[in-house]
Amino acid sequence: MTPFLSGFMITLLFVGGVYFVAVLERCSMTGNVSWSGPARSFLLLFAQEEIKTRKHDKVFFETAPILFIGVILLTISILPFSRGSVVIDLGTGALFINAALVYIMVALLMAGWAVNGVYAMVGGWRALAQLIAYSMPVVMALTATVMRAESMFLTDIVESQQSLWNILYQPVGFILFYISALAIAFLPPFDLPVAEGELAGGVWADLTGARKLLFRLGRLALVLTLSVAVVVLYLGGWMGPWLPGFVWTFLKTLLVAASFFAVGHFIPRIRHDHLLEYNWKYGVPLALYNIFQVGVVLLL
């Protein structure tokens, strides 16, 4: 496939994917599928006034949305959509996912601080707590996939699942990564930074217009990114019979994204203290166990 065509497909998949995710999100919120809904929401924010709160932190206020969407776009650009078609096939891919996504928290914390309102600030600090909770399990789960592939190239990680997808090879890692992905994307039940019923929107409550738009778009892209990451790391990436790799990646991604949105329906928002406690008491030991298990199986 020529680089041009590949790039085109990736862009198409990306934009289409974000739109699909937007439809899914809306569906999860309102209960009905509306294909024009996300576009209308977009235009609503587009037509809206920009409000800057009094005595906001100018630097953070301006940079937080850009940082947020920026790191997400960088992350998705290193994820392979199919064999050989990846914008940037980074030698440190697995590490990069982790490193870049930490900035989600940074952006949220910055946004929460910048507004200079209590709701937002509580949300921002909650975002930090959330990172402290999910970070270790997610990193250790990633490491275990790297161990199997003997490479941090994401394409290699996909190839390593030729015989058996990682979801079966290291199910514990999958579960940890999946749950952590929800927390990274602050989707319910991990939507603590933006909790509606508690902080009335929290971190992004006071953002309007373009900044809010960037955050909203960024979050949709983030859900897409994490879905692709789950597919690449655990669900065999583009591998699948009959259909081209692109299609498989896309289908699997949508499935994962849909499941992301569905989880929140079955569980109430997790408590801040439980999140930290469970992750450190059960998540980290499980993640260590996962590494050990993968390590032993690899040597057998």
Partner: protein, 856 residues
């Protein structure tokens, strides 16, 4: 239509692009309902299906929906919401034609069932054709402008603070309050100013005085002296205090030993002071005081006394804690007499002792150790820190120190850390709260330090205009409470019967009981929708709304509702989330009151602290030098300071060992009395802390507490109290009805009780079936003259409502309504205390306080 959207449109010409955008966006209606979604649901016959959605905050909304009339206070808050909405925005009034200070509505509809059906098309029209107009006007009603200006003044202050630039913006708040509180005294006494090291005051008073103080004022001199004294004489000794005293007293025949004692006693006081942290009422005159005034020999003595004092009073002393204050005051007095007198410094020292937070100590230590001579600097810094904030704070030069200077007058969290508390309000228009209810909170980080339900925000102040005609009472009461109109109407009818009916038979008929139970179902479901919003479960919220509307329309399906309730009960994690922290209002009541006292006192403390806070470090310093093995000691402190609970004891065992302390229970202080005093004091301190912790522990423990007697309804029943007025109604007795109870006394058990009550009511209605008949045709014969009282009780969805009225010559002379929500609002404080914000909101939500019943 001339004025339409004048306050809602953006400025600009409608061009093609904008028209297209406005038209598309106008199909995306985001409503912000005021007072809240729960009230909106009452006027809806079905869920919002795609035609619009509700938003959590005004920034996301483009339609402000005002539902029904409201009193001026609420209207003002609604105006704030309107002002905060980004344009283009549409104002819809349902009911009132105009509501000051809101502008003239863009869309006006009558307040009737399904008014949104008529309102939404008009709103869409506004948004699509008038999103941009040539001459929009800024919305600046006088009321709002005034309010902001007032706030702005404060802000100005704050701002000022900001620029002092030690990152301690928050200080401003405290300072302010102090400011007002202590203003005059400062000005009066330079000395005092000196002791009142806080920025706010500065600003308020002439900072110049302070600034120049260095040169001219006695006290500043003192300072200098002090510090020097410290630096020179003191360094070796290590304890500032003594050093202090030294320098201060050298001329006064003070011996070293004295000093030491001094120091001890100081620390003793410190402990007491800390205990004050828990129990403190700052305006009692301290006895220490008197002693102080006297000269030094006595002084020392006194301190020794103080020492023993602290022993005796250990368990929650108030007096000692005052000492700080008193000293301050004392200090002032002296200021005049003893100009340039070191004694003042002395006193200072004590002050600080009284106030210092234990957690600090560690800081101080390290500091000390690192910069040996910094003491002097410290004192200085402190004093100045307060004083000179304005002058670019040279004293803050050493970063570490400035941290201490910054934090010296901050409230202490339960773990002993000095933090600032944010004042924040939830409601009246908060998505996770019943519409119209406002919680005012002080947040320590994300933990609630203090919360209360606002009683000053009666939603519809209708009780002010009681109708004269007793016959109008049912309609009148029905209008008072939109959340339970049927119940209130029935209540009025019962009271009328009680008064007018010859037989005085005001028992419920079966038909009425069915009405009541139907309302209970819808009320509980409407509550469940709000509760689910706070829980963050969209599914539960949507289902609750769906069933609410069905039952409201009389087409409720028992099977489906039971299925829904079963699924809620089985929802993963829900029980854990709701019952992990036991909200035990009954048991806490007393403690929490105490604790509340604490918090308040904290505030006082600020004031006090500011007088005295400067010497923190000294005490800190002193300790390491004074005591051998304080190292471990300190540890101890630290550990305890972190607000450990009970169970931590084991965890910290080693640190105890360092002290040869076996145990940590409150009793141990007795034993301490025999040991060396310093350690002593420390221990006491620790213990005290512990004691309070233990209390706390009890609070969150599973000890079922006694709810206050006036709590009724599901909240009481969830605590296992069979309090239900239906037990006394013949209709219910015949049906063999028994109230649902649970034993948890937490949010989970309240949820369970309400869910079970829904099912119970369903069964009751089903059983009543057809033989419920029609409304009894009993005519209430209302005489035009007469005198006497009418009374009725009814079990509303939230508890027992009681109506009493007095009729004089056929006219309603007096009416008194007792509602359950008033009592429930009193539980807000105990159930939220030291809870994480989300838990606190859920706990309050689980009480189902209706703002319409508070202060009606």
């Amino acid at each position: 239509m001339e004025t339409t959207m004048r306050y809602g449109a953006r400025k600009g010409k409608m061009n093609f692009f904008r028209r297209w955008m406005a038209k598309s966006a106008s199909r995306e209606l985001c409503l912000f309902p005021v007072p809240g979604p729960d009230i909106l649901r009452i006027y809806q016959s079905g869920p919002l299906n795609g035609e619009a959605r509700l938003t959590a905050n005004p920034r996301e909304a483009n339609v402000l929906l005002i539902i029904g009339d409201m009193n001026p206070d609420m209207a003002e808050q609604a105006a704030i919401v309107y002002a905060q909405m980004p344009r283009p925005r549409v104002l819809v009034l349902a009911g009132p034609k105009h509501l000051d200070p809101l502008p003239h509505p863009d869309v006006h509809v009558a307040l009737e069932k399904d008014f949104l059906q008529t309102a939404l098309p008009a709103v869409r029209e506004c948004l699509s054709s008038l999103a941009w107009i040539d001459e929009p006007e800024p919305y600046q009603p006088e009321a709002l402008v005034n309010e902001i200006e007032e706030a702005g003044k404060q802000q100005g202050h704050m701002h000022h603070h900001h620029h002092h630039g030690h990152g301690d913006h928050g200080h401003g708040d405290h300072d302010h309050s102090q400011h007002s509180g202590h203003g005059h005294s400062h000005e009066g006494h330079d000395h005092s100013a000196h002791s009142h090291a806080d920025h706010g005051e500065h600003e308020g008073h002439d900072p110049s005085a302070h600034q120049h103080g260095n040169a001219e004022e006695g006290h500043n001199h003192d300072h200098g002296n002090h510090d020097h004294g410290h630096l020179s004489g003191h360094k070796k000794e290590g304890h500032d205090h003594s050093a202090h005293t030294h320098s201060a007293h050298e001329g006064h025949d003070h011996s070293h030993e004295d000093h030491k004692n001094h120091g001890h006693s100081h620390s003793g006081e410190a402990e007491a002071g800390e205990s004050k942290g828990c129990h403190r009422a700052s305006d009692k005159p301290g006895h220490d005081h008197g002693t102080h005034d006297h000269d030094h020999p006595q002084h020392t003595k006194h301190q020794l006394e103080g020492h023993s004092h602290s022993h005796g009073q250990q368990s929650g002393e108030k007096k000692d804690s005052h000492s700080g204050h008193d000293h301050g005051a004392h200090h002032h007095d002296h200021g005049h007499e003893q100009e340039g007198h070191e004694l003042s410094g002395h006193q200072h020292g004590e002050h600080s002792h009284g106030h210092e937070g234990h957690s600090h100590e560690e800081h101080d230590h390290s500091q000390h150790e690192e910069h040996g001579h910094e003491h002097g600097g410290h004192d200085h810094g402190h004093n100045h820190g307060g004083h000179d904030h304005g002058h670019g704070g040279h004293d803050h030069g050493s970063g570490f120190m400035s941290m201490i200077a910054m934090t010296k007058d901050l409230p202490r969290s339960t773990d002993g850390l000095p933090m600032e508390w944010s004042d924040v309000q939830f409601g009246p228009f908060h998505p996770g709260m019943p519409g119209g209810l406002r919680l005012s909170m002080k947040l320590d980080g994300d933990t609630v330090a203090e919360a209360e339900a606002d009683q000053e925000l009666p939603s519809r102040n209708l009780l002010a205009s009681i109708p004269e005609d007793p016959a109008a009472l049912p309609e009148y009461l029905e209008a008072i409470n939109p959340m339970a109109p049927v119940t209130y109407r029935l209540l009025a009818q019962k009271a009328q019967l009680n008064f007018f009916d010859e037989a005085g038979n005001s028992a419920l008929t079966l038909y009425e009981a069915v009405l009541l139970e139907k309302e209970r179902i819808t009320s509980h479901l409407n509550w469940l929708a709000v509760f689910a919003t706070a829980l963050g479960s969209g599914w539960m919220r949507d289902q609750a709304i769906k069933h609410y509307h069905r039952f409201q329309n009389g087409i409720g399906n028992m099977e489906q509702l039971s299925g829904f309730i079963r699924r809620i009960k089985k929802m993963p994690y829900l029980k854990l989330k709701l019952s992990a922290a036991v909200h035990n209002p009954g048991g806490t009541e007393k403690h929490s009151e105490e604790a509340a006292g604490t918090h308040k006192d904290h505030h006082h403390e600020h004031n006090a602290d500011s007088h005295s806070g400067h010497c923190h470090e000294e005490s800190g310093e002193q300790k390491p030098h004074d005591h051998g093995g304080h190292e471990g000691h300190e540890h101890d402190h630290g550990a305890h300071g972190h607000g450990e609970e009970h169970d931590h004891h084991e965890g910290h065992g080693h640190s105890h060992e360092g002290h040869q302390h076996g145990e940590h229970d409150h009793h141990s202080h007795e034993m301490h009395q025999h040991t060396g005093h310093e350690t002593h004091d420390h221990h006491e301190h620790v213990h005290h802390d512990h004691a309070s912790k233990d209390e706390k522990n009890k609070v969150t423990g599973a000890v079922p507490g006694q709810l206050p007697d006036d709590i009724t309804g599901p909240v009481a029943r969830a605590a296992g109290i069979e309090k239900d007025h239906r037990l006394e109604e013949a209709v219910y007795q015949q049906a063999g009805w028994t109230p649902v109870t649970a034993a948890g006394n937490n949010a989970w058990s309240r949820l369970m009780v309400r869910l079970d009550e829904i099912e119970q009511s369903l069964r009751f209605i089903e059983k009543a079936g057809n033989d419920s008949g029609k409304e009894s045709s009993r005519k209430i014969n209302i005489p035009s003259v007469g005198m006497g009282n009418g009374i009725a009780h009814i079990e509303s969805p939230r508890g027992i409502v009681t109506l009493k009225f007095h009729i004089h010559e056929g006219k309603l002379a007096h009416m008194h309504l007792t509602t359950p929500s008033v009592a429930l609002a009193g539980l807000v404080k105990p159930v939220t205390e030291q809870q994480e914000l989300a838990d606190a909101l859920i706990a309050v939500n689980s009480l189902d306080i209706s703002p319409w019943e508070i202060n009606p």
